[in-house]
C-alpha cells in the first residue's frame, strides 16, 4: 500500500535546502515592492507545483515546472493573464506578477532538476517513444523530437516535456483547441501544435504521455 507516498517524497529537509539556495536573486531589485518578495512568491508557486517544481497530483494535475524553458514559461503566464489560455486559477496567479518577478521565477524553475514523478502506464512507454521520435507519417503527425528535441528538453518557446505528469500531458493534448489559442483572431504560439494535437488518437496521446512521464 502506498501510504502517503506523496508526502514522503517532500520531506522538510528538501524545503530547507531549496530555500537556502534560492535566496540570491532577491536582492537584484524590486524586493521592496509589497507582495513582490521573490522568496515568498516561489514558496507560493511550489505549494502547488511541488517543492522541487516536480508537479503535484491534486484534484487536477498540477504540471511540472522544473527544468522548463524560461521563454515558454513566460509565454504561458502571459497567455493565462490575457485569457488566451483558459484556466481561472492560473489567470488569477499570473495577473498578480510583475514582469521582473516573472523573469526571476522563470530563471529559478529552469535550474531545478527534480526526479520525474512519472505516473504513466509502463506498458505504453515503448509505443510512445516510437511516436515521439518518429512521428506518424500516415496520420500527418510530425516527429515531436523535431521541435521538442530528442530528449524532450525544449528550446525557447518550445516547452520541455520530459518528466511531465501523465494526466496533465493527456489533458493538454486532448483539449488543445478548447483551452489554448482563445484570443479570437489573434494567433499565438499555440497554433503550431493545433494540427498535431488534433491528429493524435486518444490511445496515441496516452502512449506519448506515458513515455514522457518517465524521462529524466
Amino acid at each position: 500500500m502506498e501510504l502517503g507516498s506523496l508526502r514522503l517524497a517532500m520531506p522538510t529537509a528538501v524545503l530547507a535546502i531549496v530555500l537556502s539556495t534560492a535566496g540570491r536573486p532577491e536582492h537584484s531589485g524590486a524586493a521592496a515592492l509589497p507582495g513582490q518578495d521573490l522568496q515568498a512568491k516561489l514558496e507560493y508557486c511550489k505549494t502547488c507545483h511541488g517543492l522541487s517544481g516536480q508537479g503535484y497530483y491534486g484534484y487536477f494535475p498540477i504540471p511540472r515546472l522544473a527544468g522548463q524553458q524560461p521563454k515558454y514559461l513566460e509565454n504561458q503566464l502571459r497567455a493565462f493573464n490575457e485569457r488566451r489560455r483558459t484556466n481561472p486559477v492560473m489567470a488569477n496567479v499570473a495577473h498578480s506578477l510583475s514582469p521582473w518577478m516573472v523573469a526571476a521565477l522563470a530563471a529559478h524553475f529552469r535550474n531545478l532538476d527534480a526526479r520525474p514523478i512519472g505516473g504513466g502506464p509502463k506498458d505504453r512507454v515503448a509505443t510512445g517513444r516510437t511516436i515521439y521520435q518518429e512521428g506518424l507519417p500516415e496520420s500527418d503527425v510530425p516527429a515531436c523530437s523535431a521541435c521538442h528535441g530528442p530528449e524532450a528538453k525544449g528550446q525557447d518557446e518550445i516547452p520541455r516535456l520530459a518528466g511531465q505528469l501523465f494526466p496533465y500531458t493527456v489533458n493538454e493534448l486532448t483539449n488543445w483547441s478548447k483551452e489554448r489559442g482563445q484570443g479570437g483572431t489573434k494567433v499565438d504560439t499555440s497554433a503550431i501544435m493545433t494540427p498535431t494535437a488534433h491528429n493524435l488518437t486518444q490511445s496515441q496521446i496516452a502512449a506519448i504521455a506515458a513515455y514522457l512521464s518517465y524521462l529524466p
Binding site: 500500500m1 501510504l3 502517503g4 506523496l6 522538510t12 502547488c48 491534486g58 484534484y59 486559477v89 498578480s96
Partner: protein, 198 residues
C-alpha cells in the same frame, strides 16, 4: 459443521438488513462512533468521518500512531485510539467510514460564505494564498489522500487551519505552507463556506 453454516446464513441475513454496517462487524466500529457519532457524522470536537477519503483516513491514523499529528486534542484522544491499530484494521475502519453518506454541518457564519467561496476557488495571489479547489476539488470532495472538506464543522476546520499556523502537525504536506499565509478573517470565511458545502 452444520451449526457453522447455519450461523453464517444468519449472519448474512443480519448483515444485509443492516446496510453498510456489515463491514463494521469485523472491526469494533463502536470504539470510534462513541466519539465520532453513531453514523460517523462527528460529535462535538470529534470530526465527521463519514464520506472521508479512505486513503486520507489511513494516513491520519498513521500520523496519530506515530505522534506526528500532535495538536492537543489529537494527543488527548486519538493517540490512544490509534495506538494498537494494525494496518489491516486501519484500512477496514477507513473503508467503512468512507462508505457512509455525508451530512453538512451548516454551522458557519452564512454572511462569510461568499467571501470564503471566492478564496476557496481562486485564492488571493497578492497575499500568496493558494486556490484550494485545485487540490480539494470543485465541490470540496477530495481525492485519494486529499481529504473531503465539504460539510465538515466550522469549529473543526477553523482549528485545523489555525493549528498549522501554530506549528502543529508539520508533517501534513502541503498544508502548513498553505495555512501560513491565511489571516484569522480568511480562516473564518473559508471554514464558514466549507461547513455549508454538501
Amino acid at each position: 459443521m452444520k451449526s457453522i453454516t447455519s450461523k453464517l446464513a444468519m449472519l448474512a441475513i443480519f448483515f444485509s438488513a443492516g446496510g453498510p454496517v456489515s463491514a463494521g462487524e469485523t472491526i469494533p466500529i463502536r470504539n470510534c462512533t462513541w466519539c465520532h457519532g453513531t453514523s460517523g457524522q462527528g460529535f462535538t470536537t470529534a470530526p465527521r468521518l463519514a464520506g472521508q477519503r479512505h486513503q486520507y483516513i489511513i494516513n491520519e491514523l498513521m500520523d496519530f500512531s506515530r505522534h506526528r499529528r500532535d495538536n492537543p486534542l489529537s494527543k488527548q484522544y486519538m493517540w490512544d485510539a490509534a495506538a494498537n491499530l494494525n494496518p489491516r484494521a486501519a484500512r477496514d475502519f477507513a473503508m467503512y467510514f468512507s462508505s457512509l453518506p455525508t451530512r453538512a454541518a451548516n454551522d458557519g457564519d452564512q454572511e462569510l460564505a461568499a467571501a470564503g467561496k471566492k478564496i476557496y476557488e481562486l485564492g488571493i495571489p497578492e497575499s500568496n494564498i493558494v486556490s484550494c479547489l485545485v487540490c480539494h476539488g470543485p465541490n470540496a470532495e477530495g481525492v485519494r489522500q486529499i481529504p473531503r472538506l465539504g460539510g465538515l464543522s466550522y469549529f473543526y476546520l477553523k482549528k485545523r487551519l489555525q493549528q498549522w499556523g501554530e506549528g502543529y502537525h508539520a508533517a501534513a504536506e502541503p498544508m502548513p505552507r498553505v495555512a501560513r499565509t491565511l489571516s484569522a478573517n480568511e480562516i473564518d470565511a473559508l471554514a464558514s463556506y466549507l461547513s455549508f458545502v454538501k
